[in-house]
């Protein structure tokens, strides 16, 4: 599995995708930083994570990060190399998932510099910041796993990307129309973390959703072996 993680991670930086993800996210983050911290004089680090520009770019960045993972392998035929190796499908999928998640983690670590700036001018709440960090990782984890699943059902990266963007937007916007759907909104769940509380139900939802998507991907790839 380590080989897959290493290869995927490297490919994020031999192609522009890794740089685009980190760069664009940090630009959006800076915009939020400017408005909340410099504009309002707030020292709430967690608000920057929850702000509109950050979430908006994320709707497009996570699909960009995940859309090629499996679709490209199928298109170029390199999946034959992976699937005829002694590696199990589970390890291949997990390797890809971990590599994508590590890009998010690197991005989060980059945002620590903003945290340092805030610390210089005021006293941000450290526990809340840490919980927001965890929440953001869980939040991204769910969308990454869905993105990988979307990538496994088509050999066209663009279609995989559009499916993931659509899913992100639907789970973001729909709850606004119908308050009953509020419980289904990942954004709302993430909001609880930015309030400094780890909600067990939310955490379990994120984790089970991730596991479900990964399992679906594995089952899908396994099944393709017999119908392909």
């Amino acid at each position: 599995m380590w080989a897959i993680i290493k290869k995927e991670f490297k490919s994020y930086f031999t192609t522009p995708i890794g740089y685009i993800f980190i760069g664009v996210f940090l630009i959006a983050f800076s915009v939020s930083f400017y408005f909340t911290v410099l504009g309002y004089g707030s020292v709430n680090f967690e608000y920057i994570y929850y702000s509109m520009p950050t979430i908006l770019v994320l709707a497009f960045l996570i699909p960009v990060l995940t859309m090629r993972t499996i679709a490209e392998e199928r298109k170029t035929g390199t999946e034959q190399l992976l699937l005829t190796s002694p590696l199990s499908i589970t390890k291949i999928v997990l390797g890809k998932f971990i590599a994508a998640l590590s890009i998010v983690l690197i991005t989060e670590l980059c945002t620590l510099m903003y945290f340092a700036i805030i610390c210089h001018f005021g006293m941000p709440h450290i526990t809340t910041a840490v919980i927001t960090f965890i929440g953001f990782l869980l939040f991204c984890m769910s969308y990454i796993s869905f993105g990988i699943f979307a990538s496994s059902i088509t050999e066209n990266q663009i279609i995989a990307g559009i499916i993931s963007i659509g899913f992100f937007i639907i789970t973001w916007v729909f709850p606004d129309f119908n308050p009953n759907l509020n419980a289904l909104s990942f954004i709302n769940m993430f909001y609880n973390y930015t309030q400094g509380q780890i909600d067990i139900a939310d955490t379990i939802t994120f984790i089970t959703f991730t596991i479900t998507c990964i399992l679906l991907t594995i089952i899908f790839l396994q099944r393709r072996k017999s119908i392909k």
Binding site: W2, T76, L81, P86
Partner: protein, 318 residues
């Protein structure tokens, strides 16, 4: 080494591979031969565990592919059709990656990667990105990927497609060299290639095996007549008459007149007679000067065409 037992692959109602069985012994080089779409690649994909057969079992070195895929896959080095590679890796990175996913022991990895790179002649380009390589080199990189980890079985799907003649000879001699230490199955639709490299040929058409034999046996089995080409200087046109005197000749046909006033004829006889000696002696008596006398070998091409056209009346399944 490899046993394929009653393997069938269906795509919905379409039958891609229809109940095939054959065996490959240790150290053998076997060629899968058939026109495009005959089921060669499907068969190879099933042997390597990339797809699952609808029915039947595949056993590689004692391991059942559907029950012990990890162990079975470890015995196999696969070079897929169209040589899929990671274009953004360098040659060395790719071979190393293949070694890693094939679980080559970490301490031996570098040594083994090095050995394979040398063996496939990639030392000069090992630091180049794969996307910048020529087709011939890509083919070798793919071969290196299959070879690393010292698998006992090599499965090569159309290994010489898209190469120039020089590269083809290079790859062929590499395969022959590898055949000394590996069991090899290769597919091709180029017949001369198979007859040069392989010890045994499996001919597939429309998903069915229509013949399994050595290239030589297939050639003799299907040829029903002997053909001799003769070029003569024959100013008085005596050849027709002379030919009639030789009762073994069943047919004579004029082919062409050359610029030096010699004429070429084609002479046919039954399969079991060699016309050359008779023709030489008889024509000399008639004062016909022979410039060239050559027996046409029945080629695998003929065998192939005959088998494919003959459909399913079995020529031999031994």
């Amino acid at each position: 080494m490899i046993e394929i037992k009653n393997v069938t692959k269906k795509y919905g109602k379409v039958i891609a591979v229809d109940n095939i069985s054959f065996e490959v012994k240790n150290g053998e080089i076997v060629g899968l031969l058939g026109p495009n779409g005959a089921g060669k690649s499907t068969t190879m994909n099933m042997i390597t565990g990339f797809i699952e057969p609808t029915e039947g079992t595949i056993i590689v070195n004692g391991y059942d592919m559907s029950k012990k895929p990890k162990k079975a896959k470890r015995e196999i080095g696969y070079m897929p059709e169209g040589v899929p590679l990671y274009a953004d890796m360098t040659v060395r990175e790719f071979v190393k990656f293949m070694a890693e996913i094939k679980r080559v022991d970490k301490r031996e990895r570098n040594v083994k990667v090095e050995k394979v790179i040398e063996q496939t002649g990639l030392k000069d380009v090992e630091k180049k990105l794969i996307k910048n390589l020529s087709r011939g080199y890509k083919q070798r990189v793919s071969m290196a990927g299959a070879l690393v980890g010292e698998p006992k079985v090599l499965i090569l799907d159309e290994p010489t497609v898209g190469l120039d003649p020089k590269q083809i000879t290079e790859i062929r001699s590499l395969i022959k060299e590898l055949g000394k230490t590996h069991t090899i199955i290769l597919s091709s639709h180029i017949l001369s290639e198979v007859s040069q490299i392989c010890q045994r040929v499996v001919i597939i058409n429309k998903g069915k095996i229509i013949a399994v034999d050595t290239p030589e046996n297939l050639e003799t089995k299907v040829s029903s007549k002997n053909i001799v080409y003769v070029t003569v200087e024959d100013a008085e046109n005596k050849i027709e008459k002379a030919a009639k005197k030789i009762k073994e000749i069943t047919n004579i046909k004029f082919i062409k007149e050359n610029s030096d006033n010699t004429k070429q004829y084609m002479l046919e006889s039954k399969n079991d007679v060699d016309l050359r000696k008779i023709v030489f002696n008889e024509f000399a008596k008639e004062n016909i000067t022979i410039f060239e006398l050559k027996k046409e070998d029945a080629t695998l091409e003929d065998a192939f065409m005959k088998l494919i056209e003959g459909g399913n009346d079995n020529v031999g399944n031994n």
